[in-house]
Amino acid sequence: MPEPAFDTATTAVAAREQRAAQAGLNVEARSQFQLAADRFMHHRLALASLAFFVFMVLVSTAGAHLWHYNYAQITNQFATGPSAQHPFGTDLIGHDLLAQVLTGTATSIYTAVVVAAISTVVGTLIGAVAGYYGGMVDAVLMRFTDLVLVVPGLAILLVLAHGVSSLASNPIWIALVLAALFWTYLARLVRGTFLSLREREFVESQWAIGSSDRRIILRHLIPNAIGPIVVNATLTVANAMLVEAALSYLGLGIQPPSVSLGGLIASAEGDATVMPWLFYFPAIFLVLIILSVNFIGDGLRDALDPAQRVRA
């Protein structure tokens, strides 16, 4: 690394540093983020999974529009197996399954990403405030979190699906309800991280300077807790897809006319023996996407894990 002299008087410093640099004293100037990105790049499975996930997002979003059948369109081919005309086959009514799977994939992924985004923001804020302030604030917030955790979320959905069925069929509504349940895990995680970070001397240094709590939390603590937050957010995507699929299968999730992967699997249930393609294609998509998201999460955890940093 070049070490240009910053003024003439200090050329001696530069010379010494050059010698030191040769001796391997200077570490290359790289931020924590770059280091983490570097480690992630070395995690082949995670990298491949990321590529696959991005590919699926693109294909499902663009493909649903480009494919010459619409997911709601009814063709005159009923219950045909995979063919050149309908690569994934059709169902009893005559829906093209490829169009349905692509749209369903897009819906499932978007729902899950919205769940992850909302629950991460809410969970981080609540966990951060609880962990940073401790005491009464912590006690109140954490008892509230416990309460949400023990509330049977499925029951809520059940009621909503039956009572306000027009709402229940909307993916955004499902996403909101799931997010309202999912933030609790992250809140606990962030609280724990903050409890230990708060004891570090750099936080005390900020108090000594006179920094506001808001500044300490947003500028110093959250960036230091970003590892577990990102990993958890990723895993929430996978988790939300799984739960959404399960709910749709039970008939409580995304309702027709909207399609999701879970809904497709559910509607294939009765015909799986005679028309197996109706079950296999959505199921394979679901499993592959969830697997890839989990691998991405693993890769991120390895890349951001503080224990890895110690060895450096």
Binding site: T10, A23, S205, G210
Partner: protein, 697 residues
């Protein structure tokens, strides 16, 4: 001439890691004779512990060991796991550094000592237990027969380390390897443990390999000394030869950079510039050459071999002849970081703006204290209870401390861990809310103020913390960290902000070009400089330094101490300097206060406290500090305190020191001695003060 016990030749250890091969030990030769004590000294990362682990076959799997270690005809390197396990704890006993983790918390300590005996010797369990109790007694566990039934958590750190020593002695080893046995302990406890180690060595007639970074400990215990640097031995010889006739610049530098308890410490220290090389990419030639003032020509290209310079005295240096003549003078008394070639004034040409009212000249004359602490008390509640958590007790961390700090002076606050010195600092800074008492800073009362009210006052009183790794935000470039105070106080603008940061970097001897780097890219000493720069950003008049150099290696520590002194001269800062290292405090302080269990027991000028201490605790503390001088250590008589510091939740009645004091009388239990001048010219809190000089000269 006694027999050769251990002969290590050409030992090399390499760890393969993600970053490359770490050459932890290279071409090491050593010998150990019967009944001899060998001290291995070096700074962190010098490979001294790896040597011990290699001999004992305890290295992790990613290590490759080559060379040979012959012990009584047995080759230890490459020995099978089963065989070496028989050597460990039999012929060679190992005392690891951390007494907390080396005992099993689930078993009685007596059982753990006895187990070591019956697994190797053909004795009954009852006999093994009896022997265990004897050993515990020998290492100084009081009421050993009874306490052998106790579990590790019921013992203090010093006692646990003594129990580990007892286990090491269990099978009458030929060699005891002690790896930093006292590093985690306070000085008075360290003195006790070293005493136990001496007793163990003499009782079992074992040879001792003592691995430590503390030159004082080596001076007191070792017959021969090996100095290690970057994985290689750079000098070996008798203790006297190494300490008095050093032939390797590194040894000279180490000794010169150490503030000494037995010197008046007026001159600046002489740090070794730079920091140790990475063991992955070693420099060509001599590993020490990038830091060596004598390095020229072949030093940069050819690694020197360890060659005899005197009978039994070897040094690895091309210029060992010149070293003998040059002495400590070869290192300049610098304060900047790795900038030994640059004169101090070159780095900071511009005068430093100082906040109004704190101009050095103006205030230094006034005798008005800038900080007045009166009867400050801090009690921490202890919560517990089975069903409902409630307060079940109080830890009396600080109990009625009064202090004064005048502009431009340094008040040193010394005491062992748990004496409340850090809590006192945090209470003064209002980082914790004091229970009672008052802190007046420049005319403003700080206690009871809201955070908002304190905000403008904080500018004037800043803090530097102990741990250079924890005190900087790891996710923030250091330049931003230094600029944070300016932003928080609304003094940042795009023009002057970066300028001020550049100026601060130069002020603390750092290269401003490094402002965009992250803390993990800096060495400990450099990080501490960043912390100091941040504290200076708001032009404070007082800086509270909480153990600012205790986490640093000695060669680095000296540079930071010099920097602090230099900043004080230039900016007229007042320091409250908190440390457990009495030598450093002696070096830097104008006045000193000694704390014990939340109270100041003696205070006065530096020479009053160090040269004529009158409180028994001060005397014991001073007497416990090892001095890096073998001759002094040999003739010194120690005041050895018994027992440990009592718990702060239930401090003793009357005088708090009475439970460990050899002068304690009935009155000490009944009446608490006031901190007043008792005819010795400075205040002391003792009923029976007497003047004794304990610092051996």
């Amino acid at each position: 001439m006694t027999g050769r016990l251990l002969e290590v030749s050409d030992l090399s250890v390499t760890f393969s890691t993600r970053e490359g091969d770490v050459q932890a030990v290279r071409d090491l030769n050593l010998r150990l004779d019967e009944g001899e004590t060998l001290g291995i000294v070096g700074e962190s990362g010098s490979g001294k512990s790896t040597v011990a682990l290699a001999i004992l076959g305890l290295l992790p799997r990613n290590a490759t060991t080559t060379g040979s270690a012959l012990c009584r005809g047995m080759e230890l390197i490459g020995m099978s796991e089963d065989d070496i396990a028989k050597v460990r704890g039999g012929t060679i006993a190992y005392i690891p550094q951390d007494p907390l983790s080396s005992l099993n918390p689930a078993f009685q300590v007596g059982w753990q000592v006895a187990e070591a005996i019956w697994t190797r010797q053909n004795v009954s369990k009852a006999a093994a237990w009896e022997r265990a109790v004897q050993l515990l007694e020998l290492v100084g566990i009081p009421r050993a027969a009874e306490r052998a039934h106790g579990y590790p958590h019921e013992f203090s750190g010093g006692q646990r380390q003594r129990i580990v020593i007892a286990i090491a002695m269990a099978n009458e080893p030929d060699i005891i390897v002690a790896d930093e046995p006292t590093t985690a302990l306070d000085v008075t406890i360290q003195a006790q443990v070293l005493d136990a180690l001496r007793a163990a060595r003499d009782e079992s007639n074992a040879s001792l390999i003592l691995i430590t970074h503390d030159l004082g400990v080596v001076a007191g215990l070792a017959d021969r000394v090996m100095v290690m640097y970057a994985g290689r031995p750079v000098e070996t010889g008798s203790a006297d030869q190494v300490f008095y006739q050093s032939r390797m610049p590194y040894t000279v530098g180490l000794l010169g950079s150490l503030p000494r308890l037995d010197a008046d410490g007026s001159g600046p220290l002489r740090p070794i510039p730079g920091s140790p090389p990475s063991l992955v990419v070693l420099p060509d030639g001599c590993s020490f050459s990038p830091r060596c003032p004598l390095a020229t020509g072949d030093c940069l290209t050819q690694a020197p071999r360890l060659l005899p310079v005197q009978p039994d005295h070897m040094a690895a240096c091309h210029r060992s002849g010149e070293v003998a003549g040059a002495g400590a003078g070869m290192f300049t008394a610098t304060w900047a970081d790795s900038t030994a070639d640059v004169a101090a004034d070159v780095l900071t040409p511009e005068p430093v703006p100082v906040a109004a009212g704190t101009a050095p000249g103006a205030e230094q004359v006034s005798d008005q204290p800038i900080i007045m602490v009166t009867e400050l008390v801090k009690h921490y509640p202890i919560r517990g209870g089975r069903l409902v958590r409630h307060q079940i007790g109080e830890a009396h961390a600080v109990c009625g401390v009064s202090l004064e700090l005048r502009p431009g002076e340094t008040l040193g606050l010394v005491g062992e861990s748990g004496c409340g010195k850090s809590t006192l600092a945090r209470s003064i800074l209002q980082l914790v809310k004091p229970t009672a008492g008052s802190v007046i800073f420049g005319g403003d009362e700080l206690t009871g103020q809201s955070r908002h009210q304190l905000q403008p006052i904080r500018r004037g009183i800043q803090v530097v913390f102990q741990d250079p790794y924890a005190s900087l935000d790891p996710r923030m470039p250091v330049g931003e960290t230094v600029g944070e105070p300016l932003r928080v106080h609304g003094r940042w603008d795009r023009q002057t902000g970066p300028e001020k940061v550049t100026e601060l970097f130069r002020l603390v001897g750092l290269n401003p070009e490094h402002r965009n780097r992250y803390p993990h890219e800096f060495s400990g000493g450099q990080r501490q400089r960043v912390g100091i720069a941040r504290a200076l950003a708001l032009d404070p008049s007082v800086i509270v330094l909480d153990e600012p150099v205790s986490a640093l290696d000695v060669s680095i520590q000296a540079g930071v101490v010099n920097l602090l002194e230099q900043l004080q001269d230039r900016l007229g800062l007042a320091y409250l300097f908190i440390a457990h290292d009495l030598a450093v405090v002696r070096h830097i302080s104008d006045r000193v206060a000694v704390m014990y269990l939340g109270k100041v027991v003696e205070t006065g000028t530096r020479s009053q406290v160090y040269d004529s201490p009158t409180h028994p605790y001060t005397q014991a503390l001073l007497s416990a500090v090892p001095v890096p001088d073998p001759a002094v250590e040999r003739r010194r008589e120690r005041i050895l305190l018994t027992g440990d510091v009592p718990s702060a939740t239930s401090p003793p009645s009357g005088c708090r020191f009475r439970t460990r004091c050899w002068k304690a009388d009935a009155i000490c239990a009944e009446q608490e001695p006031e901190l007043v001048d008792r005819g010795f010219g400075h205040p002391v809190a003792c009923h029976f003060p007497s003047l004794t000089s304990v610092t051996a000269r």
